[in-house]
Subunit: 472 residues, 3 copies
Amino acid sequence: MNLEPHPDRLFPSDPTTRDIARKLYSLVKDEPIISPHGHVPPQWIAEDTPFTDPTSLLITPDHYVNRMLHSHGVQLSELGVGQTEFTEEQSRNAFRILCANWWLYRGTPVKYWMENELYDYFGVRVRPSAETADEIYDQIADCLQRPEYRPRALYKRFNLAFLATTDDPCDTLEHHEAIREDESFDGVVVPTFRPDKYLEPGREGWAELMGNLSEASGIDTTTWAGFNAAMENRRAYFKAAGAISTDHSHRDPGTARLSDADAERLYKDALAGKISSDDADALRRSMMYEQVRMASEDGLVMTLHPGVYRNHHTPSFTKYGADVGCDIPLKTEFTDALQPALADFGDSENLHLIPFTMDETVYSRELAPMAGFYKSVFIGVPWWFIDAPEAMARFRGSITETAGFTRTSGFIDDTRAYCSIPARHDVSRRVDSGYVAKLVAEHRLEMDEAAEAIKELVVGNPRRAFKLDGVI
Amino acid sequence: MNLEPHPDRLFPSDPTTRDIARKLYSLVKDEPIISPHGHVPPQWIAEDTPFTDPTSLLITPDHYVNRMLHSHGVQLSELGVGQTEFTEEQSRNAFRILCANWWLYRGTPVKYWMENELYDYFGVRVRPSAETADEIYDQIADCLQRPEYRPRALYKRFNLAFLATTDDPCDTLEHHEAIREDESFDGVVVPTFRPDKYLEPGREGWAELMGNLSEASGIDTTTWAGFNAAMENRRAYFKAAGAISTDHSHRDPGTARLSDADAERLYKDALAGKISSDDADALRRSMMYEQVRMASEDGLVMTLHPGVYRNHHTPSFTKYGADVGCDIPLKTEFTDALQPALADFGDSENLHLIPFTMDETVYSRELAPMAGFYKSVFIGVPWWFIDAPEAMARFRGSITETAGFTRTSGFIDDTRAYCSIPARHDVSRRVDSGYVAKLVAEHRLEMDEAAEAIKELVVGNPRRAFKLDGVI
Amino acid sequence: MNLEPHPDRLFPSDPTTRDIARKLYSLVKDEPIISPHGHVPPQWIAEDTPFTDPTSLLITPDHYVNRMLHSHGVQLSELGVGQTEFTEEQSRNAFRILCANWWLYRGTPVKYWMENELYDYFGVRVRPSAETADEIYDQIADCLQRPEYRPRALYKRFNLAFLATTDDPCDTLEHHEAIREDESFDGVVVPTFRPDKYLEPGREGWAELMGNLSEASGIDTTTWAGFNAAMENRRAYFKAAGAISTDHSHRDPGTARLSDADAERLYKDALAGKISSDDADALRRSMMYEQVRMASEDGLVMTLHPGVYRNHHTPSFTKYGADVGCDIPLKTEFTDALQPALADFGDSENLHLIPFTMDETVYSRELAPMAGFYKSVFIGVPWWFIDAPEAMARFRGSITETAGFTRTSGFIDDTRAYCSIPARHDVSRRVDSGYVAKLVAEHRLEMDEAAEAIKELVVGNPRRAFKLDGVI
């Protein structure tokens, strides 16, 4: 079968609405891509390393791809998960498994993204299948030999304008420094401060991390005050290196503050490795409160990605490590959880707080009402499992009536799959065009208003929420 | 830009469905408005006081309007929140802020309501903007000088047939008495018994309220039995003054009954100001159980509006007071919460209980199943943040398949914004017409059935749920 | 009014999409019906007993029908609930009540199912109403005299290929044996192991059930180990009798395992009738963990139907017993609840676990992510209150983007209303055709892919999830 993405794909089928959607989409489709949160390794850009093979580029790092195959009985090891070097045979075999099972992805965005990137960037014109696996593999492998498929060239071809990575607070950010200092590359690639494991005092190995933090910051972390000072120090280091945001993903987004004395006591318990699970949660929530305070001071944007049961299938974690596709979302609560921090800093000039969720119930109930009152709160667009056309349309339908078009984050790809970035952003632009078109077709918006609204969604919002004026 | 609401606004865009929707809408668009729950001050009607200026009429009292501006950095004080008298300059300035930021309301019902009321009642023909602010302001200010813009004349122009206000249990209801006794006004305006703060024994100042209650009722309220007798007394007073319902808004809708001995003990603790937060919740839930019992006896309809974190942004509450736009919804549970009261009174001839929610998840899961079994339970239509076209359509889609067309409350505007009442009811009629039209277009309903269904939604349901036969 | 179901009913109204839906539906509309979970009494088939009258066939056993009438003030006794024999007058009167109130069912699937079965199987050509009640009653009563309306003949006319009943673990399964041994009937009717009440150690009369279990299995059930051995024994008995699955419906789907010592202690407490409510829940969750273990060994598919407040209206339960329409759903959680069992058995070759829910929020948040990773987890389609066109469409929209088309259960009618089975399955086929058609119309799927997808939904999924290859 031929592969040929339709120019009207993802637009509503009603002819009137589709026609309006087409016009709105044409206004934004060529806008440069702003990607303020993702997982591309900075080393790729710093060293402009050629990609080695189709599997380690397109399959192994992408848990969206792997998990579906796993649910049909494929072993993660067959796909190279947990492996860094591949023989030609291993890489080709994994690719054959993917293509032979391509039908499983029907109705999912993986199919959409992959077919678009194969078509647009690798010149593939046949649908993946057992029969076409080798042909497609060879075609991609051939491309990867060529200079225009190296990371920096792709950055340009992808029309990227801004790319943030995700980094450990103790990271030296050497790759980012290399990128900044290399005048031959004019893209913008910045780090993101991701302190999760430092804020989980019940976690195994946490006390050791405090040692690393002390070393990286040069600040004694044996006290609660020292811990916070070291955090401030590393945030400043990241900010100086170009970071615009911090990212946080805990089981819940709680921000309840402990008294200094209680915090000190629990912090000491944690260092001694004898903190209870409840106390560790309480201390973590107080640490999050402090992160909000710091953000209200240093102005780094906070993105919150809570509500996931990490490594739900323990044996897969034991064998392959984290991020292999067995994280499962949990119901999440924001109204109570964020109240302590918002009562104190919600009106702050510098604070931008962007909650993301996979619990769609909070969009109309909690996040839109918060973002419709607090100037510091922006609604994160659908993320991870719900970063897909219908879920995106539900999102707009859930939040726009309360928060309008200006209080959302802009599209976030949050991906490890570099080549899927343009297709992901394109999905968002198409779906948002369709949503706004519906409002015009139903005479809830005039066409001139719609044209401004779609530009706000694609350009205005990420610039506003992530404070990008002056950065790009 | 011109302002000209389209006659087909809010109808589905599919031509077949739209045509059916238009026909169904034509059957109900001119029906008199029944407004069984809202916040219009009775004094306005009693004294027929002229409105003074556009801002204190359209902006200051409407937290929907204020909160969006606040989220973009406007101070509530700039909009007159917390202020009762305005200089011409203050009023005009606030109005300019609103118009200059009109684009923020795109996609929200505030834009829809306001543009419709400006067009229909104030003759405005230009879209609000920085440029048109003064022109629109002058036009409205001019209208407000004229007798046809006084509250009673508007009541008639709005095609109102029934309007309930919201009143304190100790209120003398003197304005309602004045309205009833004034034969020159033939509208129906009745009070609603709203005992919330009397049922929150952990609240500051609660013991003092018990004093007021004793005074108003002439009943000793130093015992649990006395408290309930005093409540019964005031409910009777309201009923005699024309009230048809009581309204309740607590954090949760719990109705668990304490033994008399436990209730007495906690009641005494509360009077002594030493009740714990958990005990206060338990006592409140037992008080709510008693309210259900009373309703099953005196027949006043109960509307429940639970599940809101009031005054989430503490500093705004401290500065401006309640109801300024920083109440944030919470997830809510009804199945367990209402079970004790429904087990005892769910089959009662006199009880009508109408739960409202902003937690859309309960519609298909809890409220439709309850209203589809209990003759005493009706489903409240979308309220507050979700009182908007798409949320209303989701509501019908969520509850109709279980509860049909006859078990919902009828539209409730619940508004402080008097002039928005007709536009709000019109949105509901249009959206419901669109929903029913979809069923016809999909051959799930014949046209004659649909015609009866839309009349049920607009006329039959509020009359049935609020027991209005014989009242209007 | 005439009754004439439209050939395009339930298809989307957009002409392009409808045309595609029609084509997809034509590919599956005549597929034999697979019904792997329901409540048809096996005795009906074993004895091929003629149905006696329209009311006891169509009204009394169907709580969907009764509950709506009850919500409008009809007494359940008027409909024959709790009654097994009917005079002509009683039966006719109940039928008249139903027909006179037919308008109440507008928008609900009851109307849709009933009108379709009346039209297709009883030749009714007029819409139910007070005026047509007797005519329809007589027509059905006349049919029921004829051999082609006996249970086995209907099994054939309904195009059933597989029908599972629901049975007590101690049941002798004699009716199933009779069916199997009767060579004159070639349908497939199998039992389902439903151990709920045996797994509720806090339930009144539970200790007595343990006696029954001991007797049925011949195994001493006075120890925790004995209890589990007895369960294994009865599961094997059911499996030998053709059972393919076990069914479980508790308040929550928890599977947390107790240590053997703790389980033993609580089990003894329960036998002694002195287990606390919390301990009974803990023991039940450990029993469920064991059921998952057993399923991973004997390969019986597990269907979970948790999250219902049974007999919410206590007086109705007291008067009429269970299953009379006053069960109300509860919010439900699966991610935490299933983790212990999935961590240990999620990768097992033999385990198939199918969670059903009436809490729609878990579809995109919990069930689709789980089924998109675990090969043992399949997503149950909408059930009970949400087994209706719009809810079904929401379901596909919620889960397909994460789990694709291959990880759902296939349609489950779960019904006591035998004659509604074909109409129920037909609704599912129509709605799924409409959903897949939308993906084609929006260029998210090619037509050849859509044709395979709809066949997967109707045929492939129930065969895969319920392991029916080799059975039918």
